[in-house]
Symmetry: C2
Subunit: 354 residues, 2 copies
Amino acid sequence: MKDVATLAGVGLATVSRVVNGTANVNPDLVRRVTEASLKLGYRHDLTASSLRRADRKTQTIGLVLEDVANPYSSLLHRSVEEACRLRGILVIAGSSDEDPGREHELVQTFTQRRVDGLIVVPTGRADEEIARVRRSGTPIVCVDRLVDIPDVDNVTVDNSGSTCEAVLSLIALGHRRIGYLGDLDTIWTARRRYAGYSEAHARAGLPLDTRLIRRDIHDSEAAEQAVSELLTSAEPPTALFTAQNLLTIGAVCALRGMGAHRRIALIGFDDFPLADLLEPAVSVIAQDPAAIGVAAAHLLLERIDDHDHDHDHRPARHEIVPIRYLPRGSGEIEPERPASASPAVVSRGQGPSS
Amino acid sequence: MKDVATLAGVGLATVSRVVNGTANVNPDLVRRVTEASLKLGYRHDLTASSLRRADRKTQTIGLVLEDVANPYSSLLHRSVEEACRLRGILVIAGSSDEDPGREHELVQTFTQRRVDGLIVVPTGRADEEIARVRRSGTPIVCVDRLVDIPDVDNVTVDNSGSTCEAVLSLIALGHRRIGYLGDLDTIWTARRRYAGYSEAHARAGLPLDTRLIRRDIHDSEAAEQAVSELLTSAEPPTALFTAQNLLTIGAVCALRGMGAHRRIALIGFDDFPLADLLEPAVSVIAQDPAAIGVAAAHLLLERIDDHDHDHDHRPARHEIVPIRYLPRGSGEIEPERPASASPAVVSRGQGPSS
DNA sequence: CTGAAAGCGCTTACAG
DNA sequence: CTGAAAGCGCTTACAG
């Protein structure tokens, strides 16, 4: 910049004004500065700029995901990127891999680079660090899992309610033995979805059979294994509820492997690519990661703006993004032998009328 | 940092030394500084640090992808992230959406934040900007598409060769009319894959029938439409080669819609999630995005290190990552009526022996 | 409207 | 081993 000023024969301040597009600079000087910049291949240094700038803004936010390569995470990433790009803000994303240590590390890495704000999908086990960073002034919004940290906004969906409804729909079809696969119990959504499964049974007056329930499963392979076990047990389920997309995929593999995919009903939480091209197509409770990302970005940008205007006194908000059930086929499979307790199911013409 | 120094009763330089873990500091002072940091909630400012630091390193690299939410891109992102994390380097990724304007913008945004290097999946139409940035000293490696820019390394796969082989395998099965769907012709890989398709025909002595060829298709919907048209034409193909994963998915939808999925052979370029769970499972030429990402990261980190040691004279390298064909079923479907010209095919027992 | 000077938070020769 | 001072590339009151 010094060189540009010298070449253009103006002061440093003028170059800065031109580069930042500040109003009221002599058009002739603007031209000279622009030419000099071009000739010297000058590139503005944003790190130095934000260091000296009054508001200290870096025009950057950090995004802590579970895994940038996971479809839910990457769709979230994309929508946050888009919302921020329109405001000239860059987003930096990283993968925590559900590890509180890495979550902590990422939050720290971002903070050290002085991001203007943070959107995080929290493991739930590094909340103290998030609280500290928030206290020191960085606006934060947590996504997907609810946290209770002062002045931190939340964006979630209704996990228990939507799960409860889906399980009730299986029960309405006549299913009485519904297997359940759940993600790590440390994850808030996993607990909420299980609560929904449990509530559906309570409402329908069905007892919970722990032999049908497999929680704390985190990948497709484990899910596939669990389903195989469930199906070969003495009293196998006639339907499955899988509380996360990787688990759903594992379940599909297992059902396929045993030739049971057209016989056992299946509803998954979270949509996944090509779910509608499988046979039968997989019914899911579908979140809208893009809508969630946009909501989170808006909440964060508002807080960042508030912060600017010195009235950072807005209370923590909790936004619940709508979610919907997509009946595609697998969730609409009736039990093979209609339970004698629900003759209404028989009238659909499935199986012998005996 | 000033406050920490005051509270600890030491000089600024000492705090800096402790924070940076420089050897040879009195353990007692280290303790005092550490305590003061904790008490004040001090957070090191990396932007200021790199500004003053002799090597000016920001410990950050930029990654320009087509779309962070696309499976190929996000797997690449993940593996680059992983390779860099082990070296304490942060990666910032952005989506160009195959738009040279946005590619330019991203390269600029990253450069302004003084990244130590750049990995880019180039649109091929912003090469001049890449060349400029490279000339100004930033190490760059281009991935997926080959570019010819001085001192810029490349990582690609053998697009034409692998496509040629796959198409020859279809021809060996007896297919004579093989439809082709290709991505935007501005993309280097699209041109190379078409070259492979074309070469296979030349080698087999088959004429190219332009009525079977649809290039410049960029999304699933357009691909679905194109396949529908091909199949309802007067002389429909008996096999399809789709040169990109979204196009493959579109083709699968179209074949399904027409009930032709078990009759028309299909080979796609690029693997995609659940390809093996479809019926028939989809045969693909599978790249290994993770291996490509690791290769790119290594090339870049080497260049960054070279740069450190003032011997940035390594010539541009071109690494070709192996690729392999995954026969899953759809690519092994034989033509319904064996071409009379190739009786050998009949011996497989397909169709009447007449 | 423009420029000289101070200073953002840090690192690094340079003396001691 | 430690600290005072200079300075990285920029922005911003402050005079003119």
